[in-house]
């Protein structure tokens, strides 16, 4: 495709892969970017300016744990100045009162706080961080007292699936304006831990229905965003709203990715924001061009009436499960390999839940952190 694609609406900035938690479903790649390779304050600022110019409206500051960056408030101030709607995606750990006040002063628009469980024992076990749950409650109280919108984000898996509806209640209790109940998507660390995370079909169906049943009850109180359990679905999700259509991800070291997991697809060439402008990357980077439009598709997607609805599902999932990034996402009932997904889900949900592979750097990086 040679014509300029419509500009992206969102940019996810993974400011750092450092994080005090070790969630078994972390969506970061197994090969985490080392602290010494992280971009500088000025490099990030330049990227935010370019993003605003390109047409990005929403900026998501994520990680790892973005509060691990000492320049976070300065980065927020710059993003706000160039007109971006600025969202902080945080575990709350590392967010001090002083930093919170500086973020508010900088003009931060929204905070998305992750919650790992409905009480301290469950949450601290899953996040692998003692005292985490109490700290999150404290952060939620700061956010609501300040009047900033709070989203509570909960990832659902076998270790907490029975509590999914109570997560919604907890979010309301914490004063959230929006709650995201997301059944685990199996990428990165979650794929590695799939055998420990997968609920049974009955569990995920029950949890899904129970959360949906809260919708009418909480209408006007909290906005519920619900991410369905992939492996138990009939049709795949419209991953990233279509490859290279709405959002881009920038890794801590400046790699610009169509989605956070795209690096698992062999042969894709990613351009780096340290070397090229975002506009150039968005329009011309081979990785973004690879699965734009419908030309790359195979059957059954190519002649399917839903191809503009779900874009053939997820490329990374086709890669991870079938070894072919161009294949129809096997989550789809029309995929000739759909039975494989049922098999995996049944097999993986049968075992014990303990002993997650802990999220950590592949080789301990040298202890030099950027100033």
């Amino acid at each position: 495709m040679s014509e300029t694609p419509p500009p992206p609406e969102g940019l996810l900035a993974e400011l750092t892969h450092r994080c005090p938690l070790a969630c078994p479903y972390c969506s970061n790649p197994l090969n985490l970017d080392a602290p010494r390779d992280e971009m500088s304050t000025d490099e990030w600022k330049r990227i935010f300016s370019q993003a605003a110019e390109l047409g990005v409206l929403h900026l998501h500051l994520s990680g790892g744990e973005p509060c691990s960056r000492r320049d976070l408030a300065e980065l927020v101030a710059h993003a706000v100045e160039v007109g971006l709607y600025t969202n902080l995606i945080t575990s709350g750990i590392g967010l001090t009162r002083d930093l919170f006040d500086r973020l508010v002063a900088a003009g931060l628009d929204h905070i998305q706080l992750s919650i790992q469980g409905v009480d301290a024992p469950q949450a601290d076990w899953i996040g692998g961080y003692k005292g985490g749950y109490a700290k999150k409650r404290e952060v939620a109280a700061w956010v609501t007292a300040e009047g900033l919108p709070l989203t509570v984000n909960a990832v659902i898996h076998r270790g907490n699936v029975e509590d999914a509806p109570r997560m919604v209640d907890l979010a309301v209790e914490l004063g959230a304006r929006r709650v995201e109940i997301a059944h685990t998507q199996y990428y990165g660390w979650a794929l590695k831990n799939r055998g420990k995370l997968m609920p049974t079909r009955e569990q995920s169906d029950r949890a899904y229905a129970a959360v949906e049943a809260r919708r009418a009850h909480y209408l006007g109180t909290v906005v519920i965003d619900h991410v369905a359990p992939d492996y138990h679905a009939r049709y795949p999700k419209a991953c990233m709203s279509g490859w290279g259509r709405q959002t881009m991800n920038v890794s801590p070291s400046g790699k610009v990715l169509p989605c956070h997991s795209a690096e698992i697809i062999p042969g894709l060439v990613f351009w780096n924001a340290r070397e090229k402008s975002l506009a150039d990357i968005w329009s011309h980077s081979p990785a973004f061009e690879a699965f734009r439009g419908f030309e790359w598709m195979q059957e059954p997607c190519r002649s399917c009436e839903r191809k503009a609805v779900d874009f053939g599902g997820c490329r990374c999932q086709a890669m991870a499960l079938l070894g072919d990034a161009k294949a129809c996402d096997p989550i789809c009932v029309k995929s000739p390999h759909h039975a494989l997904v049922d098999e995996i889900a049944a097999l993986d949900s049968a075992g014990a839940v303990d002993g997650f592979a802990p999220r950590r750097y592949a080789r301990e990086p040298k202890a030099t952190e950027p100033a």
Partner: protein, 90 residues
């Protein structure tokens, strides 16, 4: 139903902004981008938490020389749908 003396406003974290790149106006909220047509822009600009619904309708009716009843219906419909999404406080 929104009361006549309600003083609607955009809550913290909801921003009405021109999207120059796409030549349109948008309401930005957590994980939501809502396209706003020119009439809605006029309505939302008056939702400052100071004016009440009656004053907003009167202002618009006068400026656009339109029937206040129809304007009131439009304003209520817009605000009700945005309130459900937590994008307006009344």
């Amino acid at each position: 139903m929104i009361a006549d003396d309600a003083r609607p406003r955009l809550p913290r974290g909801v921003r009405l902004r021109e999207d120059k790149v796409r030549a349109r106006w948008v309401l930005l909220a957590p994980e939501r981008i809502v396209k706003v047509n020119p009439i809605a822009v006029e309505i939302l600009r008056l939702c400052d938490g100071a004016r009440n619904l009656g004053e907003i309708v009167a202002d618009l009716a006068q400026r656009f020389k339109a029937d206040p009843e129809r304007i009131a219906a439009d304003v209520r419909a817009l605000l009700a749908s945005l309130a459900e999404k937590k994008m307006v406080e009344t």
